[in-house]
């Protein structure tokens, strides 16, 4: 495995586009060539070597999940688009990152040990994005004007998520260990969002299809959701198995699955409460509330 380490020298005072920092591409370059790489910074460019100390490590671990790895050491909240369009390899940011982390990512892994800015996992198509801290607004959503948000992969946020979580999301899975801001799962087309804490105001607004799983009782059920519905025990059994299957990925990324334990502890025999909506639109979405001891399946 080839690991390239970029250790931050000092925060540059302006925003930098890090989408060119792809593990596979960097592994093919020498450290000197990496240092000469030009990164867009507003209307200007700057060299990687001006921002980072570059180091390279080759390990003989042929069994590693990814053959190439990029490590960003330090607080990089000024570094936008990290992991954008990533298709393979692993990026590990030991601190915060800027906006648009994992934008349109299709594969591989982006692990952020700090917090992510706005639009994290925006229009993500596959792979895995894990954020140990919080993430900003519009996570797993769509770019302004675009029709579809996240369409595949896993986004796991150990802390809180900002507003408009999963806006226009169509597929994939988002798990939030903390709370979510206003308009969580708004205009959800499909896919799965799980929130261990509480969502903000107007959650599930305009939700067409998909599943929003809440592990704590929300302050109210949206008026455009219909209570009831029975006979979804087979789906629920499949659903909790899907959540349990994320255990290894979460444990690897966070070292512990404690923040997500409520998701992993769900059982097929304890059905959540189900509400269908948003009836103002398609109305085939579902709000599952598993905050209380569930009904026994049949």
């Amino acid at each position: 495995m080839t690991a390239t380490t970029l250790r931050i020298k000092a925060a540059p005072g302006f925003r930098v586009d890090g989408s060119a920092l792809q593990p596979g591409a960097l592994a093919a370059l020498s450290t000197a060539e990496v240092a000469r790489l030009q990164l867009p910074a507003g209307n200007d460019v700057c060299a990687v070597g001006d921002l980072f100390d570059v180091a390279r490590m080759e390990t003989g671990n042929a069994n590693a999940a990814h053959s190439t790895q990029l490590i960003i050491e330090g607080d990089a909240c000024w570094l936008d688009r990290l992991g954008a369009n990533l298709t393979e390899g692993r990026i590990h940011a030991t601190g915060d990152t800027g906006d648009y982390a994992a934008l349109q990512m299709a594969g591989g892994t982006l692990q952020i040990d700090g917090s992510a800015g706005a639009f994290a996992g925006c229009e993500m198509r596959g792979g895995q994005l894990t954020v140990a801290g919080d993430c900003g607004d519009f996570a797993a959503g769509a770019l302004p004007g675009d029709m579809e948000g996240m369409t595949g992969g896993l986004l796991a946020v150990q802390g809180n998520a900002g507003e408009r979580l999963g806006d226009r999301m169509r597929r994939g899975c988002v798990l939030v260990g903390g709370n979510a801001g206003d308009f969580a799962a708004s205009r959800l087309v499909a896919g799965t969002i799980g929130i261990a804490g509480v969502p903000g105001a107007n959650y599930a607004y305009g939700m067409r299809r998909g599943t929003l799983l809440l592990l704590r009782e929300p302050y109210r059920i949206p008026p455009t959701f219909a209570a009831g519905g029975r006979g979804y025990d087979v789906f629920w059994a499949l659903f909790v198995r899907m959540l349990a299957a994320q255990r290894d990925a979460l444990a690897t990324a966070f070292g512990s699955t404690a923040a997500f334990a409520p998701f992993l502890a769900l059982t097929a025999s304890a059905l959540p409460r189900r509400h269908a909506g948003d009836l103002a639109v398609d109305g085939r979405g579902e709000l599952l509330v598993a905050s209380e001891p569930g009904r026994t399946a049949n």
């Binding site: 994939g172 799965t192 087979v234 789906f235 059994a237 499949l238 198995r241 299957a245 097929a268």
Partner: protein, 318 residues
Amino acid sequence: MQINQTLIDDTFAEAFPMKATRLVITAHTAAWARAAAQSLTGFATSVIDCGCEAGIEHDLAAADTPDGRPGISVLMFAVSSKELARQIARRVGQCVLTCPTTAVFSGIDPATSRAPLSDRAPLGGALRFFGDGWQIAKMLGDTRYWRVPVMDGEFVCEETAVTVKAVGGGNLLLLARDTDHALAAAEAAVAAMHRLPNVITPFPGGVVRSGSKIGSKYAGAVASTNDPFCPTLIGVAKRTELTAEVGCVLEIVIDGLTDADVGAAMTAGIEAASRAGSGVLRISAGNYGGKLGPYHFHLRELGAALAAQGGAAAGSPR
């Protein structure tokens, strides 16, 4: 070759390429899963006039099914991908969708299948329209499911079923002293085969009495009775394969996901049918001169393998 008192003919079974799938049916109880499976695999003895050959493979414990409920696996075989897809849609639609509490899943793992993969046949993709707009698709992991509202809750099924290039038409002919011995030996052989994975015996009880040959004296009939093996035609038909002491012949047809699976099942069948005192005088097989099917299962090779395993006392013909 002789195993115990049973002669093994120097011939071979000729088998053909087919397209196949495995479906896993689950239900609230094992009994309802079996009810659905029996209905789905009914009238599926031969592709000659049933569209497909199908059978129950084995029961599944709740721990071994996708949704944690008791289940059963069935195998379906057809002559083409198109026909297999048609049969899956019709049979699952009429026999599983209708059966209380059932769900159905694709049962072949592409990552571990030893049979070469073929197309994906529509499963929920074809049945979802029953939901009349209320159906919901759900992607869980890499698998897409359909949830169709029905009167007992939801009918859940995978969107597609993995299909493979399989083998159909392995067979054994058991030539016995009389009906009692033939039935007992056939039942024992079928039971032995059903202990193996990846194979079915599609005929009633796994056994067929109306072994057929290709063609007929009548125009329009694609198959007709296998007169060389009919005991009532000894001395009447132009050609007979039977001797006077043979009173009853029964056939077991085997379809499997791979030729190795079919061969293993035939071997198990030979072992069971040739046990001492079985009353089976000879074991033969049906073929078409080797010109039609690419898979040839030579009985004496299977018998020799059996002897090498120490499973039977084999020797030269006396």
